[in-house]
Symmetry: C2
Amino acid sequence: MSRAIACIVADWGTTNLRVWAMAADGGAIERRVSDRGLLAVERGRFVETLEGACGDWLAGRRLPVVMSGMVGSKLGWKEVAYLATPLGLDELARHLSPVEAPFAAAIVPGVRFDDPAAPDVMRGEETQILGALQALGCEQGVFLLPGTHSKWAIVEDRQLVAFRTYMTGEIYGLLRSHGTLGQLMEGEAAHDAAFLRGVKRAIAGEPDDLLHGLFGVRALGLLGHLSRPDLAGYLSGLLIGTEMRSGLAWLAAKGRSRRAVAVGSPGMLESYRIAAGLCGLELTSLNSDDVTPGALLTIARSAGLLARGRLEPGG
Amino acid sequence: MSRAIACIVADWGTTNLRVWAMAADGGAIERRVSDRGLLAVERGRFVETLEGACGDWLAGRRLPVVMSGMVGSKLGWKEVAYLATPLGLDELARHLSPVEAPFAAAIVPGVRFDDPAAPDVMRGEETQILGALQALGCEQGVFLLPGTHSKWAIVEDRQLVAFRTYMTGEIYGLLRSHGTLGQLMEGEAAHDAAFLRGVKRAIAGEPDDLLHGLFGVRALGLLGHLSRPDLAGYLSGLLIGTEMRSGLAWLAAKGRSRRAVAVGSPGMLESYRIAAGLCGLELTSLNSDDVTPGALLTIARSAGLLARGRLEPGG
C-alpha cells in the first residue's frame, strides 16, 4: 500500500462484512470481504470482529471507522434511531452515531418512511443511494436496490422523499430452501429461458396473482412443463417480474418516467437488467462496491472525522 | 360399534392420516386421526401403516379401503395419473386406482387443469368437492378449499370445469417459521383485530402489492406499530385477504356471483369466514371431516366395491 489510509469504511450486514481502506482522495486502497456478518458475531464482540477483519489497518493509527447497514439495527452493534423522510442525504453525516471502541467508530443511521398505510424502513441503502448520486454527479432520480429486501426509492434535490421495499430475495430464498417448491428444484436460478419465462408470466399475469403463480411453479414441475433445473430460474423470474410490475405502477402513480438507477451486486444487477428490459424500464447499473465506500468516506469527511479522528460529542 | 362396517375410507395427506369406518347407509361409525401422514411412513410401508391405524377394523373382514389425497402422488403409495378438466365428478369412481395390499384398496385420482398460462393440480380436494355437492344436494357452485394450498373451484352440472390454487398457507408457514418475519413474532395467528387489519390492508392495497406488503409486516414490527403477538395474525390476514381479492377477481372474470361454499377444517373456515365478510363474499362453510368420508363411500359404492369387496381388473 503506497498511499496512506485516511479512513476505514464498512458495509456491515447480516451475512457479510465488507471493509475498505480509503485514501483521502476518495480512492479505495484495499477491500476485504468476510462472512463475519452480524449473525456470525459472538455476543457483543464487535470490536474484536472488526479488528479481526482489518486490525492491521488500524494498528498504531488514529483512523476513524464509519459503518453502514444492519450494524445499526437491534441485532447489530448499537441500535441507531431511524431518520425520517423527506431526508436530505447530506444530513446523514450530522447524525452519525458513535459506538464505544478503542478507535473512533460511528454508524450511519437508517431511514424510515412514515406512510401510514405502508410504513417502511432501510439500513444501508441510504448510503448506497448517496454513493450513486456522487458517482453519477446527479441530484435526483429513481433508485432500485435489488437484494434480499429490494428497495425502490425516489430522490429529489438530494432528498430521499419516498421509498418502498419488496421481500423478493427473501421469498426466493425461503421457497428455494424450504417447503414444497424447493423439493422439486435442482440448482440455483440462472439467467436463461426459464428465468425469462417467469418474468413474462409475471408481466402478463392477472393482478394480485402471485400466491397463485407460486403454486403454478409447483404445477409446472409436477406436470413436467418445466425441468427440475429450470424451476429455480422460473421462480426467480416470476418474483422479480412481480416486483417490477408493482414498482413501475408505483413510479407511474408518482408521475415518474420508466427510468431508474440500479445499485447492487453484479449477479443481482444482471437479473434486474434482463427483467427491466422485458418490462420497458430503462436501467443504469452501478456495482454497490464501487459506490458505497466513496459515500461512507464523504460522510466521514462531512462529519469532520478525517480531520479530527473522532466525533465531537453531540455532533 | 353396533352397526357393521361396510367400507374403510381414508384421507391420507402429507402430514396426517384420517380413517373412517363407514356403515353402508353412509354414516361414519368411527373416525381416527393420526400423524402418520406420508412423510411419517417408513420406506414403502403403507400397508403396515394403514393396519396400524385401523387393523382392528380390517381383521378377518373383506372390507374395501378407498383413499384420497397425496397418497396418490409421487411421494405416496402409488402415483396415480391426474384426470383432466372438465371432469364429471362421478367419473372419479371409474378411475379408482387399485394398490397391492392383502385387502382391496384403491386410490382416488387427482385432477389437473390444463390452462396453458397457469396449469394447476389437485389431489384430495376433488373428493371434498364431491362430498360438498352430496351434503348440499346441489349440482354446481363455487368451492373454496382453504389450506396449505388453497383451492378455488367452479363446478357446473357436477363437472369440475376450472380451478386455481393459492400457496397461502404454505407461505404463511414459511414466513412464520423461517426468515426475518418469524423472528419478530410471538405465537400464532388469532382471529383478532390484527388479523382484520391484515385483511383490510390486502383489500385496500394497490394491485400486485404482496411482496411489498410482506416487508410491511416487518416494518410495522420494527417501528412498533404492531406488537410481537399481533404480527402473526396480521400476516395471516394479509395473505388470506390477498388470496380473496384475487379469487374474487377470478370469479368476476368467469361471470360468477360473490358466493361460495368453503370446505375445510374449523380453524381455517373461521379465518376465511371473517375475511369473506370483509370482502363481500357470501360463504357457506362445511367441515371437510363431515363431507369427505361420505364422498369416499359413494365412490366405493359406484365402483362396485361394497358389493364385490374388490375392484374389477381394468375397471
